[in-house]
Amino acid sequence: MTFAGLLRMEAWKLARRGRSYIGPAGLLAIVFPTAIGLRYGPMASELERYVSSSVTVIGSPLNALFIARVVLPPTVFLFLPLFVSIVAGDQISGESAEGTLRALVSRPVHRLKLLAAKYLVSLGYAVGLTAFLGLSALAVGYSFFGMGGLVNFWQGITYFGVAEGLERLALAYALAAAYQLCVCSVAFLLSVFMQSSLAPVGVTFAIMLVMGAVGEIPYFERLKPFFFTTYADLFQKAFLVPLDAGGMVRGVAALAAWTGISFGLAAAAFSRKDILS
């Protein structure tokens, strides 16, 4: 089977699996309550009063762009890694647990091509899920509040018009996707070594927690740039004025290194792995 055929097969399997839809459903379960809470809760008027005292806003600060902005931090740090690792962590370990891995590998299929197809499909899922979050937040925000400029609260209050706000959001979501690709790669690597589809999810989160905690200890300050969790908030740089291009490039490079090394290790392990399940 050609590599393109393997890719199609893996994408088709992913689309048919029920667990692939946990992520989109979970994200909608975050986006909708956020919009409902802001629309009908007491925050709306307080927010408008607070923002209008600091910057000049055309229209309401509560709009589609604001919803897309406000859902980013909790999802990037917690929910997207969870949903992405549920799918990526299942790619090899889930097949191993179900016994289908031996059925796949006992066919005349190149192991590395099979692994690469699974990996690319996982990466596609991670990017797609991040994009889904942005588009669904914009759509839900638009239906609740309409369109307007973007008010940003990170490191002071800044305001961007609709066009620039959309550009900044697109950049922020791209950086968020880069972090999810890294998380996806780590979960995928762990998947090669484990027999349970949930174990890679747990271990990925354990690694993230340990890196996050160790990175905060001043003694280990020098190690911090080497932890991928250091770049979890890379998306925030998309809202700085002026843009910190150097910081973004360094962050993306670090995440790309983690991504590449994780897949390299997964490939080395999988090509020599005895399929005993």
Binding site: G5, M9, R16, E98, T100, A103, S106, H110, R272, D274
Partner: protein
């Protein structure tokens, strides 16, 4: 073209200190229906996994269709269908989708081939049902369909009748026979069901503790074993006492009132006289047909190379 479909030379697999397969030399000629026998844990499944490239040998080499599995795995497995232990599928896909998916990994398969494979194993009525609704026996049949769909020249089947009812066992037996006879496939069959193996296989190999104990054509191996005679007597213990004067203890066995003794048939009248003289009533004497089971049990008792 190499006449050997499977060849192993000193094939060895160690898991830590445990040797699962120990210097196995095996030859399966094209067109044979080859039975691979051995007790649980004897190394059968490990051997099959090495033949399919699922695990890497610690030593030696396996060749399938003339290609080294270690160095040319894709060529070796290009026309091989396999069912390894309990068949596994994607439960969220239908039987048709599973067969198509696994078939396409071996070769492009048409919808007609998919349906034909499912019909062959008797699943034509459940083609579009999700596999999660299938019984164990149905999954076993589906595994066979997946192994056959790409019309391979070698089929490796590891315990294909596991979980099947007697009717299913009979159908699979007929299927395996037809694979060799009408489709000219080579079949490598691992099974515990010696009666089934005897009925469908032309050749067998017996493996124990990872080592080859015997191999050859079924007809020759079965003939090489002394079949024995069964005496139905009123006092089996007394009969055993009498027989021990004529043969070694390992040539004797008892099942209820039937005492089995491995001797040449010319000795039967003398044995009968000895029983009667010693006050043992004989109600029946029956010549036992030689079976593969006799051969297998004989090899297992000896635990040494027979041929």
């Amino acid at each position: 073209m190499d006449s050997l479909c499977i060849r192993t030379r000193g094939l060895t697999k160690r898991f830590g200190a445990r040797t699962a397969v120990d210097g196995l030399d095996l030859e399966v000629v094209r067109g044979q229906t080859f039975g691979f026998l051995g007790p649980n844990g004897s190394g059968k499944s490990t051997t099959i996994r090495m033949l399919l490239g699922l695990i890497r040998p610690t030593g030696g080499e396996a060749f399938v269709r003339g290609y080294s599995v270690s160095r040319e795995r894709l060529k070796a497995l290009a026309r091989v269908g396999a069912l390894v232990e309990t068949p596994a599928f994607y439960p969220f896909l239908t039987a048709r989708e599973n067969v198509r998916l696994f078939g396409m990994l071996s070769a492009p398969v048409s919808e007609r081939q998919v349906e034909s494979a499912l019909r062959t194993v008797g699943l034509d009525g459940r083609m579009d049902d999700r596999v999660r609704t299938f019984s164990h026996g149905m999954k076993q049949r589906l595994g066979l369909a997946c192994a056959l769909v790409a019309e391979p020249e070698l089929v490796i089947l590891d315990e294909p009748t596991n979980g099947l009812d007697p009717e299913g066992v009979r159908e699979v037996r007929e299927l395996i026979r037809s694979l060799a006879e009408t489709r000219e496939m080579t079949v490598f069959l691992s099974s515990h069901l010696l009666h089934e193996v005897e009925q469908v296989c032309t050749h067998v190999a017996v493996i124990s503790r990872g080592r080859l104990q015997a191999s050859g054509p079924v007809s020759e191996l079965v003939r090489s074993q002394s079949a024995g005679v069964e005496f139905e007597v009123d006092r089996p213990d007394a009969a055993l006492e009498v027989f021990r004067r004529f043969v070694r203890p390992d040539a004797l066995s008892v099942e209820g009132r039937r005492v089995r003794i491995r001797v040449d048939e010319s000795e039967v009248p003398g044995l009968n006289r000895a029983l009667v003289t010693n006050g043992v009533d004989v109600s029946a004497i029956e010549r036992r047909r030689r079976t593969l089971e006799d051969f297998y049990m004989g090899v297992m008792r000896q635990e040494g190379p027979v041929q």
